[in-house]
């Protein structure tokens, strides 16, 4: 039961052999038993989850996810439940409202298990910048689970939740999904409402599913996708039934393999495994051809200008006034000028004490890139190169249905290995960030294991609002293999 998918559980509920309370209590037991080692959760809402399960049983509530336990990344607002973005500066924050996706999950009958660990404000690729300490990869506890949705990925991979919500600004759903051996999807920008998602980079952020298989990702997308008037960037395009796209037949589908994703920095074992997966797609009848996305090499530079710029602006709201942490300092130095007024001293101290190292690093980088005189050289230049990256994809999708790449250049690395070198850490996002810059949907599916037993992910990309193509190709690949049936021994 521990590693059952949501669709398998739903089937067992329908058949009458299994009840949500039993599933919830067995997961809670597992959390109790294993989460001291994995540390996927920052908060477990055990009693409430059990009460919700009971209610669903008693009322025989129907819904596409009725009785399915799910964990929520700690940057998505759940009413009255501590939501901190794994940052000290949001210490004790209890949102007075639910995010749009939470409303939808509740209507669908899903049971909220609690909040999952993440990099502080989603700034990171390893889950190590959390104020609560790192999450461990269920496949090897000495390794990172990836990030920033590392807690969500580790919970699903380790059997501590059936499915999870994460957010993806530069790969934060796909990279941890790859490193933990599960399915993760970043929808098209605008497909899922961001209302109630605590903003990191508003032109890049999307909420999406982390699940054990492709069908579960489709089920969860059916629930969370759709227009929401409270997010003015959410789009009115109708939401199809994504499960209808799950077909094993991909004969004749045109798949492009960008050569720029197989140079430099890629781990040879990852390269070999991904190439085998591409060969499998070919055997299934897809027409696979090499393509070029020539501006790929600029993606990291563009992203690490655009994302911190937007972040430095979004994080201005954390100042110790409306919510969260305020410095304990109450004595302020004598005011000699406007700059030294006690209110400003409180802002400086609160932010200096409340933000972690990576958050401060990005605030400084972003503020610098936006500062007077440097705007043209950094921010504006980056946004223009972003157009070139987007144009590369537009051109490719004129001839191809889907683009296939590795999700991450390496398997999970050791905890602590990259923390002292931010540039090395930033480079681990090299294959995922282009999708955010271009706004296109992308998915990671498990495609094998290294000799050390660490999972590797295959990334699929499609044109805007072509999530169905990703479900189609992802499902065909998954069903032709057995990777999603392997689980870590804990």
């Amino acid at each position: 039961m521990t590693f059952d998918t949501a669709h398998e559980l739903l089937e067992q509920y329908r058949a009458g052999g299994l009840k949500p309370t039993r599933v919830v209590s067995s997961i809670l037991e597992k959390i109790e038993q294993l989460d001291s080692k994995i540390h996927a959760y920052v908060y477990v809402a055990g009693e409430r989850a059990l009460a919700e399960a009971k209610e669903i049983e008693q009322t025989r509530k129907k819904g596409p996810l009725a009785g399915i336990p799910i964990v929520i990344k700690d940057n998505i607002c759940v009413e009255e439940e501590v939501t901190t973005c794994a940052s000290k500066i949001l210490e004790g924050f209890r949102p007075p409202y639910n995010a749009a996706v939470i409303e939808k999950l509740k209507t669908a009958g899903a049971i909220l298990l609690g909040k999952s660990n993440m990099d502080e404000f989603a700034f990171g690729s390893s889950c190590e910048t959390s104020v609560y300490g790192p999450t461990h990869n269920p496949w090897n506890l000495e390794c990172v689970p990836g990030g920033s949705s590392g807690g969500s990925a580790a919970a699903v991979a380790g059997g501590l939740a059936v499915m999870a919500l994460g957010s993806d600004t530069g790969g934060s759903i796909r990279q941890p999904a790859a490193l933990c051996g599960i399915v993760g999807m970043k929808p098209t920008y605008g497909r899922v409402s961001r209302y109630g998602l605590i903003a990191f980079a508003s032109s890049l952020d999307q909420i999406g599913p982390l699940t054990r298989d492709v069908r579960d990702a489709a089920l969860l997308m059916n629930v969370i996708a759709g227009h929401d008037g409270r997010d003015s960037t959410s789009v009115e395009t109708p939401v199809p039934d994504y499960t209808k796209a799950l077909s094993k037949e991909i004969k004749g589908m045109k798949i492009g393999i960008p050569k720029e994703y197989f140079v430099g920095g890629i781990d040879p074992e990852v390269e070999k495994i991904v190439k085998e997966a591409i060969h499998c797609l070919e055997k299934l009848g897809a027409k696979v051809e090499p393509i070029s996305l020539p501006n790929t090499e600029h993606a990291i530079s563009v992203y690490y200008i655009v994302a911190p710029s937007e972040a430095s602006s979004n994080l201005a709201r954390f100042d110790g006034v409306q919510y969260g942490f305020r410095t304990q300092r109450t004595a302020y130095s004598v005011q000699r000028s406007e700059e030294q007024e006690p209110l400003r001293q409180m802002y400086f101290a609160t932010r200096g004490e409340g933000f972690g190292k990576e958050a401060k690093r990005r605030i400084i980088l972003g503020t610098y890139a936006l500062s007077s005189g440097y705007y043209d050289a950094y921010y504006l230049k980056a946004q223009k190169v972003r157009t070139l990256i987007k144009n590369d994809f537009d051109r490719a999708f004129e001839s191809y249905d889907c683009i296939v790449t590795p999700t991450s250049p390496t398997p999970a690395f050791k905890i602590g290995e990259k923390t002292s070198n931010p540039l090395q850490m930033y480079l681990s996002d090299i294959y995922t960030i282009s999708a955010n810059l271009a706004g296109i949907p992308a998915m990671s599916v498990p495609c094998g294991f290294t000799k050390q037993g660490l999972p590797v992910g295959l990334q699929l990309l499609a044109k805007p609002f072509a999530e169905e193509t990703l479900f189609h190709v992802g499902y065909a690949y998954e069903q032709a293999n057995e990777w999603h049936k392997r689980h870590p021994v804990l």
């Binding site: 209890r94 007075p96 003015s232 960037t233 006034v321 209110l343 001293q345 200096g352 500062s371 223009k384």
Partner: protein, 103 residues
Amino acid sequence: MQSKQPSELKEDQIRYVAKLAHLSLTEEEVKLYSHQLNDVLGYMAELAKVNVEKIEPTFHPLPIHNVFREDEVKPSLPVEKVLENAPAKESSFFKVPRVLPPV
């Protein structure tokens, strides 16, 4: 305003930018960030060689424009509920340290 070329982030500049961002940093942090961000900016210098003549910036990935809606009065969050999260409050207000200098 004349546009400046990307340059090294010296410690003084880190202090200046931190001030713009309302962020107090320790001297240790100033040194660390100056060193680390120079690495990052050094890497980004590669953007200089990209030709973007006649290329429009993509501030937003989708071609969406201003979204209008009816200007209707709708209920907003209750004041008490919002104030529950405030580190300091008084009656129905957020409370902050002194703003005006003592007379």
